[in-house]
C-alpha cells in the first residue's frame, strides 16, 4: 500500500475558475503507484473545487457569471457582512459546489474523461493564495 500527499498552491486574482489539472498530473506521475484514488481537498470555505469542461474557455466564464446571479451580493438580509459583501456569497457558492474531488487513478493515469479539467473556483474578489491538499492512496 502506498499513501503520499502534497500541498499545491494556486494563486487566484478575482472571481473565476483556475485550472490545476496539469499540476496534479505531474505530481501523481511521480508517485510510486499504478492504481488508486486521488483526492484533491481545498482547505478554504470561500473558494471550492470543480471538474468542468477544459475545451471552450467560455464555459468557465459562463459558470462564474451564473453563480454571480444565483447567489447575489446585494441581499440586505445577510447577517455575515463584516468580511465584505463578497464573503457570505463565497461561503454559499462553496456549499453549492465541492470542497474535495475524488478521482480514480488507473494504470498510472487519472481516469478523467477527455473534456474534464480540475479547477479552483475562486469566489472572492481579491487575490488569494489557495491551498489544495493532494493525496494518493494506491499500490
Amino acid at each position: 500500500m502506498h499513501i503520499s500527499s502534497t500541498t499545491l498552491t494556486v494563486q487566484t486574482h478575482g472571481k473565476g475558475l483556475y485550472p490545476f489539472t496539469k499540476a496534479v498530473q505531474d505530481w501523481v506521475s511521480k508517485q510510486n503507484a499504478r492504481n488508486g484514488l486521488l483526492t484533491a481537498f481545498i482547505q478554504h470555505t470561500s473558494c471550492s473545487v470543480v471538474i468542468q469542461e477544459n475545451a471552450d474557455p467560455d464555459v468557465v466564464l459562463d459558470l462564474r457569471d451564473f453563480f454571480e446571479q444565483l447567489v447575489p451580493e446585494k441581499e440586505s438580509w445577510y447577517r455575515h457582512t463584516t468580511e465584505g459583501m463578497d464573503d457570505m456569497t463565497s461561503h454559499i457558492r462553496s456549499a453549492l459546489t465541492q470542497t474535495s474531488l475524488s478521482i480514480p487513478f488507473l494504470s498510472g493515469r487519472l481516469a478523467l474523461g477527455t473534456w474534464q479539467g480540475l479547477y479552483v473556483f475562486e469566489h472572492r474578489a481579491a487575490a488569494h493564495e489557495r491551498r489544495v491538499v493532494l493525496q494518493l492512496i494506491g499500490e
Copy 2:
C-alpha cells in the same frame, strides 16, 4: 490491500435521473473485499451523479424539473452556445451536483441508507452513452 475497477455504461435518453445502484451492487459483490471505499466517477461534464430517494419515483421527476427552472436555457447572456442551448446549462447543473460519489463498503455491503439510490443525472436532451468508473479500495 485490494484495488479493482471497472467502467459501467449507462444509456440515457433525455434529461432526468437514471438509477444504477443495482449494477454497482452486483459488481462490488464480486470483488475480493469485505471492507473498503467505493468511488463512482462520471467521465463527463454535461451529466452528473447524485444519491437520491429510491422509493417514490416522483422525487426524481421533481428534481429534474427544479433544475430546469434553476438553470434556465433561455438566457441571452450565455457565451457558450455552439453545442446547443442545453449544453451550457448542463455544465452548470453538473457543477451544482457531483462528478463522483464516495460510499463506504462495510462487511461486504455498500453502506447506503434504506432509501438511498445512485443515479446518473443526465442534463442533455439527446440520448447519450455515459461512462461511470467504479473503483473499490479495500481488504
Copy 3:
C-alpha cells in the same frame, strides 16, 4: 493497511447546520493510522453534509436562509407532497450539497483548514436522528 469505521448519530431539531467536527476528530485520533483518507457518509436523502466556516455563527444561519429561498416550499408544481411540504425541498437541497465528505488524514490529523468545520445540514423541520458513517482507510 488499516480500515476502520463507525457510525455517528447526530440529533437535529429543525432546519440548519449541526457541527460534528469534534466527534470525527475524537474518533480518528483513536484509530491505528497516521495517514489516510476519512470519508463521512450520511445515510439519508433529506439532509446532507457540508464543510463550512466554523468561526462566525452567522455564516451557517445565512446559509440555511439562502437555501430556504433558493428551494422554496410553496411551489404548486411539486409532485412529491405526501411526506410534507418540506420533504421534496429537502431532497433538492440535499442534491445541491453533499452526501459525503472526503478529507485527507495526515500525520495523525485531519487536513482541515483553520476555519473549516464539518456540519450535518438538516433540511427537514422536525427533529431527526441522523446517521453519519465514518470510515478511515490508512496506514
